[in-house]
């Protein structure tokens, strides 16, 4: 099975003689970025009929490819289940994991991985069938939940039901599609996942209007890209590509005006776009790294609206994911 191959790879990778990791060199040499994404989650990483990937998570891969290789399309996507994702990254099968992955203490400290920032502030929520007549998660005592295996959701829901002295049954599936099937067939009464995923999954239901997302948000789920620990150069690149797209929105740089602003913008915009200063060189990249990111992928706002916001079927509001001066908590460290 697919998984055993992964474990095999992981074992072989760990057995082999110690090597010095330089992901940047490897990616440049290959001319391709290997990016781990989900097996299909609307708005975050999804494949269309032509086989091309899109989504908020996918835009991180495209952004890194644009910054490193100058071409956002130079990405090989590896669809991974939640269970497979960390092993794939540890074993070097992928260069970067961008798969709606929650930044937790345990993952950051014990898996040999580093989280390179947050691209979406999420929280665990519930989706139920309208027929059930449930208005609050507190009414779910004794119900059965469908969950994706190997996620932080499994832990969040266990905490929540324990806190509230309620009982529940948990049916865990490998993919989020299967959890949706479970809800539709009635195997479980409610589906638990990150809120963003719930909206994405609801669109895929046979009768999207027949399901509602409950108001409760029971945990913090900051989602972001992950890289291997011990390769600080690569870690910095990923971190600053994420920041460049956030800073781009803050500075008013968009995919349309980026070229123009690089020539005639304010000092801050010029510094970001590489016509002033040496931010790119310090990362080991070319001067126009961030220009490539914003020109080819767009700034955070463009990416958000296109994939999960008002220009997408998901219609998720910015909420927490707005800029800090706009009611959200999105904040890029200083670009200087």
């Amino acid at each position: 099975m697919h998984k055993s191959i992964l474990f095999g790879l992981a074992t072989v990778a760990l057995f082999s003689a110690p090597v010095q990791a330089d992901t940047l060199e490897d990616v440049k040499k290959a001319g391709m970025l290997k990016c781990g994404v989900s097996t299909g989650l609307a708005g975050f990483s999804q494949k269309d009929e032509k086989g091309s990937w899109s989504g908020l998570d996918v835009d991180v891969c495209r952004g890194v490819a644009a910054a490193v290789l100058g071409d956002a399309s130079k990405v090989t996507y590896k669809p991974l289940t939640a269970k497979e994702r960390f092993t794939a990254l540890q074993s070097g099968e992928i260069d970067i994991l961008s798969r709606n992955t929650t930044w937790t203490h345990t993952r950051d400290t014990s898996l040999g991985l580093n989280f390179a920032g947050t691209i979406y502030y999420d929280g665990t929520g519930f989706m139920v069938s309208k027929k059930l007549g449930v208005k609050s998660a507190l009414e779910l005592d004794g119900a059965a939940a469908c969950i994706q295996a190997g996620t932080s959701t499994e832990l969040a829901i266990a905490d929540y039901f324990r806190e509230n002295n309620m009982k529940y049954k948990v049916v865990t599936f490998d993919t989020s599609d299967q959890t949706r099937t479970g809800l539709e067939s009635g195997r479980c009464d409610f589906l638990v996942s990150d809120q963003s995923q719930l909206y994405a999954l609801r669109i895929g239901l046979k009768d999207p209007a027949g399901a509602i997302v409950l108001p409760e948000v029971i945990s913090k789920e900051p989602l972001g890209p992950v890289v291997r620990q011990g390769d600080d150069k690569w870690f910095n690149i990923t971190k600053w590509v994420v920041n460049a797209s956030i800073e781009g929105e803050f500075q008013g740089v968009t995919s349309e005006n980026a070229d123009e602003l690089a020539k005639s913008g304010k000092p801050g915009q010029k510094r970001l776009l590489g016509t002033e200063g040496d931010l790119g060189e310090k990362l080991g990249l070319s001067k126009d790294w961030a220009l490539n990111v914003i020109k080819q992928v767009g700034n955070y706002s463009e990416s958000f609206e296109r994939n999960v916001g008002q220009d997408s079927p998901l219609k998720i509001k910015r909420g927490l994911n707005a800029q800090w001066n706009n009611g959200g908590i999105l904040y890029s460290p200083a670009m200087r």
Binding site: T106, L140, D141, A143, G150, L155, T172, S185
Partner: protein
Amino acid sequence: MTEDQRAVSSKHAFYNNPKNRALIYQLLLLIGIGYFFYTIVSNTMANMEARGIKSGFGFLQATSGFDILMSLIPFDATYSYGRTFVVGLLNTILVSIIGIILATIIGFLIGVAHFSPNWLIKKLATAYVETFRNIPLLLQVFFWYFAVLAALPTAARDSVSIGEAVFLNVKGLFIPKLIGESGSSIVYLSIAVALIAILFLRRWAKKRQELTGAQFPVLWTGLGIFFGLPLLATLITGIPFGLEYPIMGRFSFDGGITVIPELMALALALSIYTGAFIAEAVRAGIQAVPHGQTEAARSLGMKESKIMSLIVVPQAMRVITPLLNSEYQSLVKNSTLATAIGYPDLFTVFVGTTLNQTGQAIEIVFMTMAVYFVINMIISFVMNRFNKSTQITAR
């Protein structure tokens, strides 16, 4: 050693002695293999250290923090990761035992049906084997889970029910639970006594037959003891049992015993699939018994049923047993397909969730491999013992 040989060997150097040379080569090989494993282990440790990946078995004591759908022992999120291992292991053993028993029954019935003089039964047996042997097992698991069991009624009140005591819906099979009250231990004891009594009866009957040739109806007497004694005990102690019926709650049935659909689907798929292979093994075994044996038995005037049970099957077992062994082992290994439908077996729980929450892939994968290895070694051991007992023994 003769004088000649000694003369020859003393002429040659120590390393030219074939015996010594073999020893040296063996030793070198051993050192080589030892070094190979040493390198693997030390490299792995160094690599994991360098990559900041946590290692060791300390995680087994840490609190798991997640729940599991089905557990044969008490379990909730406050128990340790070590406990999740045991829960998963027991679930694997449960589905394997159910699968092995059902597959054996199906296999023997279909295998024997192949020799039925009835054309329809014979063809049905062939069709069964050809159908289920040729469809991938994963597909069959999906078929039972997503096509058959998911089509059951959704709402608890629409459940298929037998006498308002047994309910079947998409969430599983709900059956009443037997609750032992005071005095029930006497009944359990009587079951044990009955089993021991049957063992003694068998031994006594065998001895008597060897001495006098007179047969004793062991099967019927045995069944009588097995059911009669506990029944008697139950009546004497005043039926010390209560039934806990499943009661409809808001979402599902509470109380009683719940058989989750994941278990049903997996057990069905495993036993039907493996049953087809066992049927072929049984057919091969029976065909391996020379026809002359049957004819000889007939000429002695034995009944057809006796010929099958006393002449054909015991000889066929010699061929069937080794094949059964590997079918059983395959079944245990195939039970890891549980992960496809979320049945919480060892693979799903431990290699799935626990591995993902702790990230300790190496330890967990090795522990799990060791478990399947040991389970299959046990099956091999038992089946080899059984095989010995079916082989020809000279008196």
